[in-house]
Symmetry: none
Subunit: 134 residues, 2 copies
């Protein structure tokens, strides 16, 4: 469907990045070497000719010491659908129940699974916890 104001969003993002870069007194090439993204592509992104991927966006935010949320908001993540309960505080959820089945909780079992990488464990536990919050 109509993507509507894509170019506007992208342009806003690009302008934002360019402003931040100039404010940090960095040249395109300098920033390119920091982000390991080609200067050419950075130039195009800044002028709204391309939509950068997550990797690139992350690198840019990193190099400019920007808050990731800021960048994502500029990239068009304002309009969530949602019913969004804020909820999301990363901090511990208060009233966690006790371990259900005695000696081995899911958390412990996952952590103990040596065939999983750390990332996989984190992902799995993320799914698990999200299930408990409902």
């Amino acid at each position: 469907m109509r993507d509507g104001g894509w170019s506007d969003q992208v342009n806003a993002l690009g302008g934002f990045i360019r402003a931040q870069r100039q404010m940090a007194k960095l040249s395109l090439r300098e920033m390119a070497s920091m982000t390991r993204v080609s200067n050419a592509y950075l130039s195009q992104v800044e002028r709204g000719l391309h939509q950068p991927s997550l990797k690139v966006l992350h690198s840019i935010a990193d190099a400019l010491h920007l808050n990731t949320e800021q960048l994502l908001q500029q990239a068009g993540w304002g309009g969530g659908a949602g019913a969004g309960a804020a909820a999301a505080n990363g901090r511990a959820e208060a009233a966690a129940d006790e371990a259900p089945a005695g000696p081995c909780s899911v958390e412990e079992a996952v952590r103990a699974e040596s065939r999983l990488t750390e990332e996989q464990k984190t992902a799995l536990l993320g799914v698990y916890r999200s299930f408990l919050e409902s």
Copy 2:
């Protein structure tokens, strides 16, 4: 190429999406029509064969009523700005390990978790098994 854990990340993201989709009792095609992303591509994303773009991620989060932060975290945005050491997870990582085949397997632990519904258990184990197949 130090991509190292990259495929893990993507896989984690895919597994997370698949779990959420199954929990919402959606088929690939249903979700495809909601997100206006082809079922084919969704299938590939869920199995970690491709890294979805911002647009697609946004659509997915939207269709599944997920908090954007959750998804982005799964997509590899845990780290945040450069200087900081990583690891912001709530729980400290215990030194536990070992005993994959012992009495305390992930499968058993999940099955014994009384706070999960049957569908949730199925979804969780689906993610888990998909991680083991590599």
